[in-house]
């Protein structure tokens, strides 16, 4: 399952979808991807940054939503303290 995780005060919220079922055109999987894409765009507009994470690999910044990315974390906007 591919995951989009959004960091927030409640911990993180998750949107998940099955990439294989998306390719098959499964309506539920497609709806989940659309929801993930909507949240991605909304959070990016608020200044959040997205990263692809994988075990034992450095994080990679993601500027465009990628439904094939396995694990994406959205970090809220930051400022100098």
């Amino acid at each position: 399952m591919a995951k989009l995780r959004i960091l927030s005060s409640a911990g993180d919220s998750i949107v998940e979808w099955d990439a294989a079922r998306v390719q098959q055109g499964d309506p539920d999987a497609l709806a989940a991807v659309r929801e993930a894409e909507r949240i991605f765009a909304e959070q990016r507009a608020r200044g959040a940054t997205a990263f692809v994470v994988a075990p034992d690999a450095p994080a990679r910044r993601l500027d465009q939503f990628d439904p094939a990315a396995e694990h994406v974390v959205l970090v809220p906007r930051v400022a100098g303290g």
Binding site: R5, L7, S8, S9, A10, G11, D12, G47, T49, F51, V53, P55, D56, P58, A59, R60, R61, V73, V75, P76, R77, V78, A79, G80, G81
Partner: protein, 136 residues
């Protein structure tokens, strides 16, 4: 017979607990979710290092001799060049997030967006704090 003052105090305590308890439960759940996510992203070895030392070390992607030290508890991120402390950095999320999510935030920003992280950070150059003594 209960004194009116005692009765009011008891009511106050009960109301306080009723108001605070859900917040404490939500806060606790958020901490647990953040710890689980951090553990998943870091893997067991790095998570153990964080647990043992109280900080997470992240290598600079652009300068191999430098590494960032991210504290698990509140505090500044520090930068080391070899064994020498050279800089402290303050970068904060603009929304409140659990402590372990903050550790993850620093790690992701350093690894995936270091130049922007350093541009945003409030920096303190620590190489100037203790000038080298020449001569003897």
């Amino acid at each position: 017979m209960i004194e009116p003052a005692t009765f009011l105090l008891a009511i106050g305590i009960i109301l306080g607990v009723l108001v605070l308890l859900p917040r404490v439960v939500r806060w606790w759940a958020a901490q647990r979710r953040a710890a689980a996510l951090l553990r998943e992203v870091l893997g067991e070895a790095a998570y153990r290092q964080l647990d043992q030392h109280g900080y997470l070390e992240v290598r600079s992607p652009s300068r191999p001799s430098q590494r960032y030290r991210i504290p698990r508890q509140k505090g500044l991120v520090t930068v080391y060049d070899g064994d020498k402390l050279i800089m402290s950095l303050c970068v904060q999320p603009t929304v409140r997030i659990p402590g372990d999510d903050t550790v993850l935030m620093h790690k992701l920003l350093i690894e995936g967006n270091e130049a922007e992280y350093l541009r945003i950070a409030n920096r303190r150059d620590l190489t100037l704090a203790a000038p080298k003594r020449h001569g003897k």
